[in-house]
C-alpha cells in the first residue's frame, strides 16, 4: 500500500504501483485556492486511457493516479508517448488533427474528454509549461497578467498584486521588479522559462504540467527551475516530463516509466531508481536501454 504524504524513505516494500485503492491521510489539499477535491483522492485519474493519431497509437491503456501536492515525473525513451499523455491532461492534443481518444482521464473527478467540458476553464485549472520557453512578445507584466486579465480581473491594483505574487512564486521577482515593462524576449532563457511558469501560475491552476521544462536551459538555469519545482510542490500538483533521469530522481516524488506508448511501471521515485520491479525499467534507468 502506498500512502501519499509519507516520505518515500518509509515506503512499504510492496512493489505494486499505487492503485485506485490508495487513500491518503493528508487532511488539507488546497488550503486557499479553489474548491477542495475529496480528501486523499488522486487529483488526476487515468483509466485505460488511449490516444490515437489517426491509425497510429499515441498512448495505450494508461491507468495511473496522480496525487495532489506532489511531483510526478514521467520518463521514458523518445516517442514513448509521455508528452502525449501530458498534453492529454489539458487536452492540448486537440490542436493536432485526427486525434481520437478512448478510456477515461479525469481531473478532479471530471472526465476531460467529456464534450461538455469547458476547455478554457480546464486549461486554467491545468496550467502548462513547454519545452522551449515561449513568452509572448509583450512586456513581462503583460505576460504574467495575460491569463489573469481574461479571467475578469482588470482592476489595476489587483493585477499588480497578482503579477507580483506570481513572479515571487516563480522566483523571478527580484530580478525583474525594476523593469516589468521590458519585453519578455529580452530575458535570458532561464528567466524566460521562469516567466512562463509565473504566467501559468497567474490563472491559479491546481495542476502544473511541465513538458521537459529544462531541456533548452543550461545547468544553472536548470538548477533554479528545479528549486522552483520543489518550492511549488507544496501548493500545486506538478507533472513533469523529462528526459533527464537525474532530474526525475532529484525533483519527483513518484515516477512513471513509459515505453512505446505503454505505462511500464509507476511507483515512488526511490523505488523506480533503486528497485524497479520490471526488467525494462531497470534497463532504462541503468542506461542499458533507451
Amino acid at each position: 500500500m502506498v500512502e501519499p504524504g509519507d516520505s518515500p524513505a518509509q515506503m512499504p516494500q510492496t512493489a505494486e504501483a499505487p492503485d485506485k485503492t490508495v487513500r491518503a491521510r493528508v487532511p488539507t489539499l488546497f488550503a486557499a485556492a479553489g474548491p477542495r477535491p475529496l480528501n486523499g483522492e488522486p487529483l488526476i485519474r487515468s483509466r485505460d486511457f488511449s490516444l490515437f493519431y489517426g491509425q497510429k497509437v499515441g498512448v495505450k491503456q494508461i491507468t495511473m493516479d496522480i496525487h495532489p501536492q506532489s511531483v510526478t515525473a514521467i520518463i521514458g525513451p523518445s516517442g514513448c508517448g509521455k508528452s502525449t499523455f501530458l498534453r492529454s491532461i489539458n487536452r492540448m492534443n486537440d490542436l493536432i488533427p485526427n486525434v481520437r481518444v478512448e478510456g477515461r482521464l479525469e481531473v478532479a473527478g471530471i472526465d476531460v474528454n467529456d464534450r461538455r467540458v469547458n476547455l478554457p476553464n480546464l486549461r486554467q485549472q491545468v496550467g502548462m509549461v513547454f519545452q522551449k520557453p515561449n513568452p509572448f512578445p509583450k512586456s513581462i507584466y503583460d505576460n504574467v497578467a495575460y491569463g489573469r486579465r481574461f479571467q475578469g480581473f482588470r482592476h489595476r491594483g489587483e493585477l499588480d498584486e497578482a503579477v507580483e505574487r506570481c513572479l515571487r512564486a516563480a522566483a523571478l521577482w527580484d530580478e525583474v521588479k525594476d523593469n516589468l515593462r521590458k519585453s519578455a524576449l529580452a530575458l535570458s532563457g532561464g528567466q524566460q522559462q521562469r516567466l512562463c511558469i509565473a504566467r501559468a501560475l497567474a490563472t491559479q491552476p491546481k495542476v502544473l504540467l511541465m513538458d521537459e521544462p529544462c531541456s533548452a536551459l543550461d545547468p544553472i538555469a536548470t538548477g533554479r527551475i528545479e528549486e522552483l519545482i520543489a518550492d511549488l510542490k507544496s501548493a500545486y500538483t506538478i507533472v513533469i516530463v523529462t528526459h533527464n533521469m537525474q532530474q526525475a530522481a532529484r525533483v519527483s516524488d513518484r515516477t512513471a516509466f513509459f515505453c512505446l506508448g505503454e505505462l511500464i511501471e509507476y511507483d515512488w521515485t526511490s523505488v523506480i531508481f533503486t528497485k524497479p520491479s520490471k526488467k525494462q525499467t531497470e534497463d532504462y534507468v541503468t542506461g542499458r536501454f533507451g
Binding site: N121, F130, K132, N134, P135, K138, Y146, G147, F150, S183
Partner: protein, 559 residues
C-alpha cells in the same frame, strides 16, 4: 625545365575552392550591380518627374501672380503691391497706346461706327443750338457728306482713292460753322487715318487684322485685361501671365508669328516662324515689339516665388491657377477609407483561411478566387463599383445616387482586398505556433488567442499589406472614374461631410488635365505638380506605415 608541382600547403586553397570563391564574388557583384541599376532606374524615372513637378511650387511669379494671390486669397502686402502695380502700368501704357493707334486703321468697323455716332451727335447738337432751319439743313447734309466720305475712305483698299476721299473730308476743316462742334471729330479722325493710309498697305488690311488679333490675345494673356476695362467673368481672363514660364510662351507668341507654308506640292505644310517686325514691316506697330522684348521683365516683374500654398489651395479656373488642396484631401480621404474598409475584411478573411478553414475543395476555390481577384483589371472594378455601389447598394441605404467618395472607397477597398488578404494570411501563418499554444494552454479561447496574441504578432506583416494597398489605392484612376471622381472640386471640410459627394483626386485630375482640354498645353507645371504631389503623398504614407511597422516589429523582437 621544372614542372610546377601541386602545392602541398594545407592552408593554400585548392583550385576548386578558388573557383568557388571567384564565382561567389561574381554573383555578389552581379547582385549588387543589379540593385544599383534598379535604384538608378528609379532615380532616372522619378528625378525628372520631381524636378518638373517642383516647378509647380517653386517658380518665378509675376506681378499678376501677386495680384491674383491678393485678390483671391488675400495674401501679400497690399501697399507694396499697389506701388508695384502703378510701376508696371506705367511701363505697359505705351504698349496699349501703340496698339490703339495702329488698330484704328485696321479695325474699320470701329471707325465707321465712330463716324455714325459723330453724325448723330452732331444732329442733336444742332437741335439744341437752335440754328436757323436752312443752315441746319445745310449743315446736316454737310455732316452726312463728311460721314459718307470718311466711310468711303475707310472702306477703300486703294491708297489713292482713300486719300482722295479723306481730302474731300478735310476740305471742310476750315469751315467756321463747324468750329467748336462735334463735327470736328471727323477731321481729327481723318487726319489720324491719313497717317494710317500713308504707312499701311491697305490691300493687306485683312491680314493685318488677323495678326493684330493674335498680338492682342498675346498681350491680354501677358498683362490681363486692360486698365479700365470691365472685369471679365472668368477667373482665367482676369489675370495675365502669373508665371514667368507662362509669360515666356506668350511673349514668343507676341514676338513671332507662326506660318504654314507649302514647300513642295503634296507634302505636309511646314511651319516657319516670322518675326512680327517683318509681318508688320513699315507700319506704326513695328516699335511695339522691340519695346516689349526689352521691357517685358519690367512689365511683369518676375520674382522667385515659393508657393507652398499650392498644396492647400483650391484650384481656380480649372487648374489654371491655384493649387491641389482638394485633390490631396480627396486622395487621402478615399485612400484611408478604402483601407478602413478593406483591412478588417481582409484580416478576418485571412484569419478564417488560416485558422478555421481546412484544406477542402471549397477553401481551395476561395483561394483561387482571391488570387484571380488580384489580377482583374482595375477598370472592371470601376464598372462593378458603378453598377453595384453607386446604382444599387448605396441608394438603398439612403445615400444620394451618384458618384461619391464612399462608393469610390468601397470600390478601391475591393481592389486592394486581395493584397491585404494575401499579406495577412502570410503574416498570420508565420506567427510562431508556440505563441498560440501558450495562449491556449493558459485557457484563452480561440478568438481571444487570435485577438490578443496572433494578431499583434502578425501586425508587421499585415502592415506590409497595408503599405502595398495604400500605394495602389492612392494611384488608381480607373476604379474611381465612374464611382467617385470629378475633374474639379473644392476642399470639403469637415471630411465626413464630403463622403457622400464626389471628389477630385490627384491621379484622376492629372489624367483629366492630360486628356481634357486646352489646359494640358497651358499648365504642364500643374500636371507635373500633381504627379509630384502624388509621389510625395504615397511616399509619406508609406514612410509612416513603415515607421509604425518597424516600431511594432521592434517591440515584437523585444527591443
Amino acid at each position: 625545365m621544372i614542372r610546377r608541382r601541386p602545392s602541398t600547403d594545407p592552408l593554400r586553397p585548392g583550385r576548386l575552392l578558388r573557383l568557388r570563391g571567384a564565382v561567389d564574388r561574381i554573383f555578389t557583384g552581379l547582385a549588387s550591380g543589379s540593385i544599383l541599376l534598379i535604384a538608378l532606374a528609379l532615380v532616372v524615372v522619378l528625378a525628372p518627374m520631381l524636378w518638373r513637378g517642383a516647378t509647380a511650387v517653386l517658380f518665378r511669379g509675376t506681378v499678376e501672380f501677386r495680384l491674383m494671390q491678393m485678390q483671391k486669397f488675400g495674401r501679400g502686402n497690399r501697399a507694396d503691391l499697389a506701388v508695384e502695380l502703378v510701376q508696371v502700368a506705367e511701363v505697359r501704357q505705351p504698349v496699349y497706346g501703340m496698339l490703339d493707334r495702329f488698330s484704328r486703321g485696321i479695325a474699320t468697323d470701329d471707325l465707321e461706327e465712330e463716324a455714325r455716332r459723330l453724325y448723330r451727335e452732331f444732329g442733336k447738337q444742332l437741335d439744341r443750338r437752335d440754328t436757323p432751319a436752312q443752315e441746319r439743313t445745310e449743315l446736316r447734309s454737310l455732316a452726312k457728306h463728311l460721314r459718307d466720305d470718311f466711310t468711303e475712305a475707310v472702306e477703300s483698299t486703294d491708297k489713292a482713292a482713300a486719300r482722295e476721299a479723306l481730302g474731300r473730308v478735310l476740305r471742310h476743316a476750315d469751315d467756321p460753322r463747324l468750329k467748336g462742334t462735334v463735327a470736328e471729330g471727323f477731321f481729327r479722325m481723318a487726319r489720324d487715318y491719313g497717317h494710317i493710309v500713308d504707312t499701311v498697305d491697305l490691300s493687306r488690311r485683312a491680314e493685318y487684322a488677323k495678326a493684330l488679333g493674335e498680338v492682342r490675345d498675346a498681350i491680354r494673356a501677358l498683362f490681363g485685361p486692360r486698365p479700365g476695362e470691365p472685369r471679365p467673368p472668368l477667373v482665367m481672363d482676369q489675370y495675365g501671365a502669373t508665371r514667368w514660364d507662362m509669360a515666356e510662351r506668350q511673349l514668343a507668341r507676341l514676338l513671332t508669328a507662326e506660318k504654314w507654308v507649302e514647300v513642295q506640292p503634296g507634302q505636309p505644310l511646314q511651319r516657319i516662324e516670322v518675326p512680327r517686325e517683318q509681318q508688320f514691316a513699315g507700319t506704326d506697330l513695328v516699335p511695339l515689339f522691340p519695346f516689349v522684348r526689352e521691357r517685358a521683365v519690367e512689365m511683369l516683374d518676375p520674382r522667385l516665388t515659393f508657393y507652398w500654398q499650392y498644396f492647400i489651395d483650391d484650384s481656380l479656373s480649372g487648374h489654371y491657377f491655384g493649387g491641389v488642396g482638394p485633390e490631396i484631401l480627396g486622395t487621402l480621404l478615399i485612400t484611408v477609407l478604402a483601407i478602413l474598409f478593406a483591412l478588417p475584411l481582409g484580416v478576418v478573411s485571412a484569419a478564417y483561411l488560416v485558422e478555421c478553414a481546412g484544406d477542402g475543395r471549397v477553401v481551395r476555390l476561395i483561394r483561387t478566387c482571391i488570387n484571380t481577384l488580384a489580377g482583374v483589371p482595375s477598370i472592371v472594378f470601376g464598372l462593378f463599383g458603378l453598377a453595384f455601389f453607386v446604382i444599387f447598394l448605396l441608394p438603398k441605404f439612403g445615400f444620394p445616387q451618384g458618384a461619391s467618395i464612399l462608393a469610390g472607397a468601397l470600390t478601391l477597398g475591393l481592389l486592394v482586398l486581395p493584397i491585404i488578404i494575401r499579406a495577412s494570411e502570410e503574416a498570420i501563418r508565420s506567427v510562431p505556433p508556440t505563441y498560440k499554444e501558450a495562449a491556449l494552454a493558459l485557457g484563452a479561447s480561440r478568438l481571444r488567442c487570435f485577438v490578443t496574441v496572433t494578431l499583434p504578432a502578425a501586425l508587421p506583416g499585415i502592415l506590409t499589406g497595408v503599405i502595398l494597398s495604400v500605394s495602389r489605392a492612392a494611384g488608381e484612376t480607373a476604379p474611381i472614374l465612374f464611382t467617385a471622381a470629378v475633374a474639379i472640386g473644392s476642399t470639403a471640410w469637415p471630411p465626413w461631410s464630403a463622403v457622400t459627394k464626389p471628389t477630385c483626386t490627384l491621379a484622376y485630375s492629372s489624367y483629366h488635365i492630360a486628356v481634357g482640354d486646352r489646359l494640358a498645353a497651358l499648365v504642364p507645371h500643374n500636371q507635373y505638380g500633381m504627379v509630384m504631389t502624388l509621389i510625395l503623398l504615397v511616399l509619406i504614407l508609406n514612410i509612416a506605415a513603415i515607421l509604425v511597422r518597424s516600431r511594432v516589429a521592434k517591440r515584437l523582437r523585444g527591443q
